[in-house]
């Protein structure tokens, strides 16, 4: 009985929107205020309806307004865009060029597919607890960099429902960044160029000085242990022939490469850990002060970064008018809810334990028959399901944003720290 509900069925979706979707929390999070501001009313929403019909430039006056329309159209998912200079829904009546994106959370998207060349457990759309370790390594690096280098604090990490994670940054300065500035921040972050196979081998980190820039050096320190645990032990990336050949391509020294290849061809059973150890031994044999040694050391650093450094989908972050799926939407394939994730507990997060629609609706069904209780209000319904902690997380985050807003209102100078 419990698993009879099909997560992707339109009825289930509608029920979820009606009873469980936290419209009010989403509203608070986007609006930074109780009273509707332009942050909400001039915000673009885009719906994907059944049968891949795509509706853009929708905008709403309030959370209730949004809920009404969503329950009416019952989209399979919806996306959030930028705050425009006018109401997006008036697009047709505004003269051309009158609708320009002004503000937008700074967003990042990390998707497991970009890790396909370096993960051995699954491929394409699949994801398991094991490959989630790539994401959690990425989250730690990115989260640290955003907070420490860029000084942003209002970060919301959201599981994308299947194989990735989104980051929404709502600090005032981050909201105001221009496309060019967003491009700059992506440039700062990006090390592994995603795209064509050949290009992905080269990392864009070494400048003329050949030394790793400090932010990457920081990240490298964090990533060394991930590399040992994840790449060498868990994923065993260099076990297969194609696996270790990829590794050898990074090594700029022909003698070392042929030595290693010979050794590994003789003993195909050697684990990745042993192979990495072999490489270290080889490097140690090269004269300590020779330029080759330096090169090899750099190559080893590059390898660690190549396998573990966050792979960001750059296009998503670069433009203010890029749409990104709203939190708490349902992923149509998995039926899982796109829930917020606490970055400090990212290692414990298991994508397979995220509630699905059918599970939540079942939880609701099981609860309602309790006797002697009044019919619960819509807000209370969430309280009875396993969605509760996630909604609380968003509420807390939104409350933080609203506090900042209130303080700025009372004391406009407080926000002008720069």
């Amino acid at each position: 009985m419990a698993n009879q509900i099909d997560s992707s069925a339109p009825e289930a979706m509608l029920m979820f929107y009606r009873k469980l979707y936290p419209f009010k929390s989403i509203y608070n999070w986007l609006n930074h205020d109780q009273m509707p501001t332009k942050l909400f009313t001039h915000r673009e929403f885009a719906f994907t309806l059944q049968g891949d019909v795509y509706l853009r430039y929708k905008s709403f006056n309030s959370a209730e307004d949004l809920k009404k329309d969503i329950c009416h159209l019952n989209p399979t998912r919806f996306e959030i865009g930028p705050v425009y200079s006018a109401r997006p829904r008036d697009k047709k009546t505004i003269r051309p060029g009158g609708l320009t994106p002004l503000l937008r959370e700074l967003v990042f998207d990390i998707d497991m597919t970009d890790y396909d060349p370096v993960r051995t457990c699954c491929s394409e759309a699949n994801i398991c607890k094991r490959c989630w370790a790539f994401i959690s390594a990425a989250v730690k690096v990115l989260d640290h960099s955003i907070r420490d280098h860029f000084g942003y604090e209002k970060l919301l990490w959201v599981y994308s429902g299947r194989r990735g994670i989104h980051l929404w940054i709502s600090d005032k300065e981050a909201m105001e960044l221009t496309d060019q500035q967003r491009k700059a921040i992506v440039g700062w972050m990006n090390v592994v160029s995603i795209g064509s196979k050949e290009a992905s081998k080269r990392l864009n980190i070494r400048t003329a000085s050949k030394v790793l820039p400090p932010p990457i050096q920081d990240a490298l320190v964090q990533l060394v242990s991930t590399f040992t645990d994840l790449i060498l032990e868990d994923q065993d990336c260099f076990a297969s022939e194609s696996g270790y050949e990829t590794l050898l391509e990074f090594i700029p020294n022909a003698t070392v490469v042929s030595n290693l290849r010979n050794a590994w061809e003789k003993d195909p059973e050697r684990s990745s850990e042993d192979k990495w150890e072999d490489l270290k031994q080889q490097v140690k044999q090269v004269d300590r002060n020779s330029p080759q040694r330096v090169q090899l050391k750099q190559a080893m650093e590059d390898i660690i970064l190549h396998y573990t450094y966050p792979r960001i989908d750059a296009e998503v972050s670069k433009h203010r008018n890029h749409l990104l799926k709203a939190p708490f939407c349902i992923h149509p394939k998995t039926g899982r809810v796109c829930v917020p994730v606490d970055p400090s507990k990212i290692d414990e997060f298991d994508p397979e334990k995220v509630p699905t629609v059918s599970q939540l609706l079942t939880e609701l069904d099981e609860f309602i028959p309790v006797d002697g209780e009044e019919k619960p209000s819509d807000e209370d319904l969430v309280e009875r399901t396993s969605l509760r902690p996630y909604v609380q997380m968003l509420d807390q985050h939104a409350a933080g944003l609203m506090t900042v807003k209130r303080e700025t209102k009372q004391d406009p100078d407080a926000a002008l720290t720069w």
């Binding site: 060029g97 280098h149 860029f150 221009t178 700059a184 440039g187 400048t207 820039p213 400090p214 720069w418």
Partner: protein
């Protein structure tokens, strides 16, 4: 800002503005951040001419970017262009510096009006203007620079010695000293460190120096970028860019409310078009309506087409030879081109008569002779029609039998056409990648210019040199540039007779 633009546009008298001279000089330094719009009377003519002059410079900057000129080359080319069209001297100069700066100021604001209309135009305008500002900033004397920097607040905080010491390691690792000559690594490293010790650091919000952030050339902490004094110009440029961006958006929003008679809008529209091909070429005007001296014969045209035509004319010519006919717009474009090339009306009649082989004399005389004579201003309204320039060819909606092949052809067809047309002149298949890339970015005239350079390499034309330093903006400019080179090598003489015999 815009209101004032409106006032200016309406040429309302504002004598009060003239009194806003600061310290006796309205423009104390050659550099201008264009915060205040020009508030003085100008004539419509000045409005257009100074904008056109500035546009020439900006268009050259754009095509330089498309042609991958290095910064040094760009600086050289643009300085020369500025000298020619819009000189801007420093205070020590004996020239009319106030007039120069006034022109610079005015033209900037006129172009703002012309380029604020679409996102694309705005972006390109900002990019070109920022480049121009950079070039001028770097050419500026030290004293002027200092005065300019002090005249504005760039929102930088200075970094205390303790703070510098605290982040010493990180700062040093991204510190690049100004070119040191020391050959040995250790010595260079020492020089770098010494320079670092002397460096005064500033900190700004990171968003102010996105270019440095993107390349990881600064140290970031808590959203602050620690910028060495050396890189301060980066902050200035960024400020210039973002200010201009905002100002243009405001202008764009207010432009529809421009309470305007019909005098300015056509001028502005014309200017906005100028970015497509560079400035509409005044090639004809500069070189006289007709190339004089040499009589061009109908029978020498085939030879000419082989050696000196740009691709558009070559395409038309080949089509004429293949079909033994051309549609109206093809005839128009090609006929005017031939006229300016120096083909007399008599020869033109001979040429067309021979070309239209399948048509009877009677039909030709009835239907085509008039047309040809019309082109030469001998019939109808008797106007002296100029040949179409690249802008007109590029933007004309009619592409059967004419148009710019760089724009209308598919990449494959273009490659084939280029090879068959120019392989005998030295174009190699390996050159095509570059040209295709340029075309893909819609820099059609740049592609054409590049083809000119490649096919004239044997005359000593180098990459980036174009036709006497200018990009192609007119098919006749291309053809006559090519013929002049040919003449230089093959010795004065009568080119066409030499070829025919």
């Amino acid at each position: 800002m815009f209101k004032a633009g409106e006032r200016k546009a309406n040429i309302v008298s504002r004598t009060a503005a003239e009194s806003s001279y600061v310290s006796g000089l309205k423009y104390p330094v050659p550099l201008n951040f264009y915060d205040k719009p020009p508030l003085f009377d100008i004539t419509i003519e000045e409005f257009e001419t100074c904008a056109l002059d500035r546009l020439r410079i900006l268009a050259e900057i754009e095509s330089s970017a498309a042609r991958n000129r290095t910064w040094e080359e760009l600086t050289k080319v643009i300085s020369a262009q500025c000298e020619k069209y819009m000189p801007l001297k420093d205070n020590s100069s004996m020239t009319d510096i106030h007039g120069q700066r006034r022109r610079d100021h005015l033209s900037h604001f006129v172009l703002r009006l012309a380029f604020c209309r679409s996102e694309d135009l705005r972006k390109r305008y900002i990019k070109a203007e920022t480049q121009l500002f950079k070039i001028r900033y770097e050419e500026c004397s030290h004293a002027d620079k200092e005065a300019f920097l002090n005249s504005r607040d760039f929102g930088c905080l200075s970094v205390s010695t303790e703070e510098k010491e605290k982040y010493r390691e990180q700062l040093l690792s991204v510190y690049f000293s100004p070119r040191s000559e020391a050959a040995r690594e250790a010595a260079r490293e020492a020089a770098r460190e010494a320079a670092f010790e002397k460096e005064k650091y500033l900190k700004v919000r990171w968003a102010r120096v996105p270019d440095l952030v993107e390349k990881r050339r600064v140290f970031l902490h808590g959203g602050w970028a620690y910028v060495p004094g050396l890189d301060q110009s980066s902050i200035v440029f960024q400020e210039f860019e973002s200010k201009l961006d905002k100002a243009l958006e405001t202008t764009a929003r207010l432009l529809p409310r421009l309470d305007e008679d019909e005098r300015l809008v056509p001028v502005l529209e014309n200017l906005a078009q100028g970015f497509l091909t560079g400035v509409p070429s005044e090639w004809i005007a500069e070189n006289g309506a007709q190339v004089s001296g040499e009589e061009l014969k109908a029978e020498s045209i085939d030879e000419l087409a082989k050696n000196h035509y740009p691709l558009c004319m070559k395409t038309i010519h080949d089509r004429l030879r293949r079909d033994q006919h051309l549609k109206h717009f093809g005839r128009l474009q090609y006929g005017l081109f031939l006229k300016v090339l120096g083909l007399s009306v008599e020869e033109a009649v001979v040429f067309w008569r021979k070309s239209f082989k399948r048509i009877t004399d009677d039909k030709f005389n009835k239907e085509y002779r008039y047309n040809i004579r019309h082109l030469y201003g001998l019939e109808g309204k008797r106007a002296n029609y100029p040949a179409k320039n690249c802008l007109q060819i590029l933007t004309s909606g009619n592409t059967t039998d004419c148009g710019c092949p760089y724009r209308t052809f598919t990449p494959e067809n273009l490659n084939t056409a280029l090879l068959s047309a120019y392989a005998p002149l030295g174009l190699k298949a390996s050159d095509l990648t570059e040209i295709t890339q340029t075309v893909k970015n819609s820099h059609f005239h740049v592609a054409c210019t590049r083809v000119f350079e490649i096919t004239h390499a044997s005359y000593g034309v180098k990459k980036g040199e174009a036709i006497g330093g200018e990009s192609v903006t007119h098919p006749n400019q291309y053809a006559s540039g090519s013929r002049e080179l040919w003449k230089k090598v093959h010795g004065g003489g009568d080119l066409d007779m030499a070829e025919v015999t």
